[in-house]
């Protein structure tokens, strides 16, 4: 039986315990937090981390300090103040070990540090926060994913969201889709510039099929998104229905610029050609085509071809569904998309300076017109977005702002009307 690391007390837990006990002993002690997690991956292999941790051995043996190596490879070394200079020498040694890494080379630039030093007597609260933040982030991440795999969670999901989608159910759904009238399932959400006073200004609107309502209409009790591959296949069927609906109804004449989600394969299909034939050149310029990253990377050659094709026709292309983890890997500019959407998640705000710096750099490079923060459910999302330079937002909270703004305008109109109608009386 393999050792089960999660059954043993983890270094994170030990670290928290230690910091808790430290409260009584915080006088005359220091902490060196060595940011090995920021090293390049090839410098962060097990043997490197072990070697780095090993340099503290003599100090530990002499009972001058205690070391914790946490999951992300960061080192936490607590030491007695009298050996501070020795601890500094050790950290210097580790720094030399990674001399060729950008972390060391760029030290000092935009606040990058190889190691952060704390005086536990003075900065005890800071240390507590630091350690708790790390442990919580790890715990949260673990439970988030584990929940999904857990049988209990699956059962809960089933009870709440319905039976999982299976191939035979998928066949039934597709069959039903071919007959269903989707026009009353189309929803619309606005992408708005939101200013510092939280006043929204509409830029364009996304049209989408409410999957929730679709489920209720055609197959109540089935969770359409429970299997990502089957769902992805289902979206190809949906694409075709949406395109034909956009042509038939007056959806094409919907006011203002619009966007919709579609698969690359659909862009290359006859249905899209027919849709395109029915549009005027001017209307194409008012349409934004949203594409999913996994769809793009499943056949890059097809994406590149389709992107070029639609862009020369005048459509704009928006990369949809970016998140904290994907931002570092997928580059909008390299992919040649006109815009990109980041999905709001509190982990963006929790990601700290690093995530903020990444976003700020992107916004500075591209300008605010190319980026949208979507699924903004609360004010925190808008505040975070604005703090990194994002100006365009989408989501339930933005819809509320629009409604509020509408009410305010109505009130204003009403007020003016009252004023006007009362004016003649004043004259009398």
């Amino acid at each position: 039986m393999a050792t089960q690391p999660d059954k043993l007390p983890s270094q994170e837990k030990l670290l928290i315990d230690y910091v808790r006990r430290l409260e009584k002993l915080k006088e005359g002690r220091g902490l060196a937090h060595v940011h090995l997690s920021k090293l390049r991956p090839f410098n962060r292999r097990e043997q490197h981390i072990r070697a780095a941790a090993g340099t503290f051995d003599s100090l530990i043996k002499d009972m001058h300090g205690q070391l914790f190596t946490i999951k992300n490879a960061d080192l936490f070394f607590f030491f007695k103040s009298q050996v501070k200079s020795q601890a500094e020498t050790v950290v210097q040694k580790i720094r030399f070990m990674f001399g060729d890494d950008p972390l060391v080379e760029d030290e000092g630039k935009d606040g990058r540090e190889f190691a952060t030093w704390y005086d536990t007597a003075v900065q005890y609260d800071e240390v507590v926060q630091l350690v708790q933040g790390l442990a919580e982030a790890e715990e949260k991440r673990q439970s988030e994913v584990r929940n999904r795999m857990d049988a209990r969670q699956r059962l809960k999901e089933k009870q709440k969201k319905g039976e999982p989608l299976t191939p035979s159910v998928l066949a039934k759904v597709e069959e039903a889709l071919s007959r269903a009238d989707l026009s009353n399932l189309v929803r619309r959400q606005f992408i708005c510039v939101v200013d510092s006073k939280m006043v929204p200004e509409q830029k364009f609107s996304e049209l989408y099929i409410s999957i929730q309502d679709l489920r209720e209409t055609i197959l109540p009790g089935v969770n359409l998104v429970s299997n990502r591959w089957l769902f992805q296949h289902l979206t190809e069927t949906l694409d075709r229905r949406v395109l034909s609906m956009l042509m038939k109804t007056d959806a094409v004449s919907i006011s203002g610029d619009i966007s919709f989600n579609i698969n690359v394969s659909t862009l290359l299909s006859d249905q899209f050609q027919i849709f395109d034939d029915n549009l005027s050149a001017a209307r194409r310029g008012a349409i934004v085509i949203e594409l999913q990253k996994e769809d793009i990377f499943s056949d890059l050659a097809a994406y590149l071809f389709a992107r070029e094709f639609v862009q020369t026709k005048g459509y704009r292309v928006c990369l949809d569904g970016l998140a904290m983890e994907t931002l570092q890997v997928i580059d909008r500019e390299r992919l040649g998309a006109d815009m990109a959407k980041i999905v709001w998640h509190p982990n963006l705000a929790d990601g700290g300076d690093e995530v903020q710096a990444v976003l700020k750099r992107l916004l500075e490079r591209d300008g605010p017109d190319r980026w949208i923060l979507c699924r903004c459910d609360n004010r925190e999302a808008i505040d975070f977005g604005r703090s990194v330079g994002i100006q365009q937002f989408q989501g339930r909270y933005v819809e509320n702002l629009i409604a509020e703004d509408g009410r305010r305008r109505d009130l204003l109109k009403l007020k003016r009307r009252i004023e006007r109608s009362s004016e003649p009386q004043d004259d009398e």
């Binding site: 191939p167 296949h233 499943s298 890059l300 050659a301 071809f305 070029e308």
Partner: protein, 412 residues
């Protein structure tokens, strides 16, 4: 009547008074295989719709996917934008790149009023017509062959359930094939890195669904691989991992890695996780990066090695797989790399990836020639897999001495 024949007929009529006629031959047949898809071709044709409706121009579509444009009294400047649109669509293809070269590789122009050009174009058109005949015959033959064999009906929601059922019940142990990844150092014997275990898909298809093309939908195929994963894990679990000498690698979905089936497998593997490499696909990783990060950490914590599979030379231009922080990255050897002498930006990006990931993380696979190995070695890469390597392995294992497991996975 083929378009080629129609074109030849048109030419014979033009010959009588060829004034102000010209022809443009667009060599789409010279595109890379990945760009020569029928739906690309169909869309490329439509680029010319406007021109054909508004000017005296006719477009002929050749059997080999070349296009021929015959125009009369049209300004060259009015044609250029259309050719450039085609060029932009295939901008990643070397065929479209060479505008600054002496001659454009994408299009050839003929002034049909000039006797010399007319003769040259006539011979080009004749050649196209001969090719068309050959292609027609080949197609006929292929169609007959394919009637009972590959391709077949597309995979759809309708037949998926039945095929999935089949997959669960079919014997697959005998369809598991192996291919060795080795480490090559100049002047030394190769050392084993791992043996990839994979399912022979075409044979599997014959067994479970001879009439259905399993690869027609990327998504539905991916769904089937989740079922396959479970079958493969149960077969591989029969091994006694204490006796396994050389590390093995398995292709799995991230969902499988986090499932009960993998947990059971993990129990069988015991303390030997260091002997197992798990290969994850790019498409699976991008679908949910958060879960990928979790699965990767979980695997690495337990001692497994994580390999990112499915990175094409093209993909390297669009993201840096080193950011996924795996133990290994498999990069397919491709013609693209050979053409690098003229276009160094792609090579530069690959060098960056090699530098970020560390050269010991990179595996070049689909290695089919010594040239590929030399190319890799010149970049500091030492791990290789592919047909050419199979031959080397064959030669390595034949001598009297048994191959020793000289390399442990991940060892530099």
């Amino acid at each position: 009547m083929t378009q080629e024949a129609v074109l030849l007929e048109k030419l014979s009529r033009i010959e009588e008074s060829p004034t102000s006629y010209f022809a443009v031959h667009i060599h789409l047949s010279q595109l890379r295989a990945s760009n020569r898809q029928q739906h690309f071709f169909n869309i490329a044709i439509r680029v010319f719709d406007n021109l054909i409706n508004n000017a005296d121009a006719i477009l002929y579509t050749m059997m080999n996917q070349d296009l021929v444009l015959i125009c009369r009294e049209v300004l060259v400047e009015d044609i250029d934008p259309y050719i450039n649109k085609i060029r932009a669509m295939f901008s990643e293809d070397p065929l479209a790149a060479g505008d600054d070269e002496f001659e454009d590789r994408l299009s050839t122009w003929y002034d049909l009023a000039s006797k010399e050009d007319f003769a040259a174009f006539l011979s080009a058109a004749t050649e196209l017509s001969v090719k068309a005949q050959i292609l027609l015959e080949e197609q006929q033959k292929n169609r007959e062959q394919q009637l009972g064999k590959s391709s077949g009906d597309p995979l759809s929601a309708k037949n998926l359930a039945a095929i999935n059922q089949q997959l669960q019940a079919t014997r697959i142990a005998d369809l598991i094939r192996q291919q060795t990844c080795i480490r090559i150092a100049p002047g030394k014997a190769g050392a084993f890195v791992f043996r990839e275990h994979f399912i022979a898909m075409t044979e599997l298809k014959e067994r479970v669904s001879p009439g259905v093309n399993l690869f027609s939908s990327a998504w539905l195929f991916q769904y089937l691989t989740e079922t396959l994963d479970k079958r493969v894990l149960s077969v591989i679990s029969r091994k006694n991992f204490d006796d396994v000498k050389e590390p093995i690698s398995l292709n799995l979905n991230i969902g499988t890695v986090l499932s009960r089936d993998f947990n059971n497998f993990n129990r069988v593997v015991g303390d030997n996780a260091g002997k197992v490499v798990i290969e994850l696909q790019i498409i699976d990783i991008f679908a949910d990066m958060n879960t990928y990060g979790y699965a990767r950490d979980m695997l690495q914590d337990r001692g497994y090695k994580v390999l990112v599979d499915g990175v094409s030379p093209l993909a390297l231009q669009f993201f840096d797989p080193a950011n996924l922080k795996p133990d290994f990255i498999k990069v397919a050897w491709g013609k693209e790399f050979e053409e690098e002498s003229t276009d160094s930006t792609k090579l530069k990006m690959f060098r960056e990836t090699v530098q970020h990931a560390g050269k010991d993380s990179i595996i070049v696979y689909r290695v089919d020639s010594e040239r590929a190995v030399k190319w890799g070695l010149s970049l500091g890469i030492s791990r290789f897999q592919g047909y050419f390597i199979d031959k080397l392995v064959h030669a390595m294992t034949r001598p009297k001495v048994q191959p020793k497991a000289t390399a442990k996975v991940g060892q530099a």
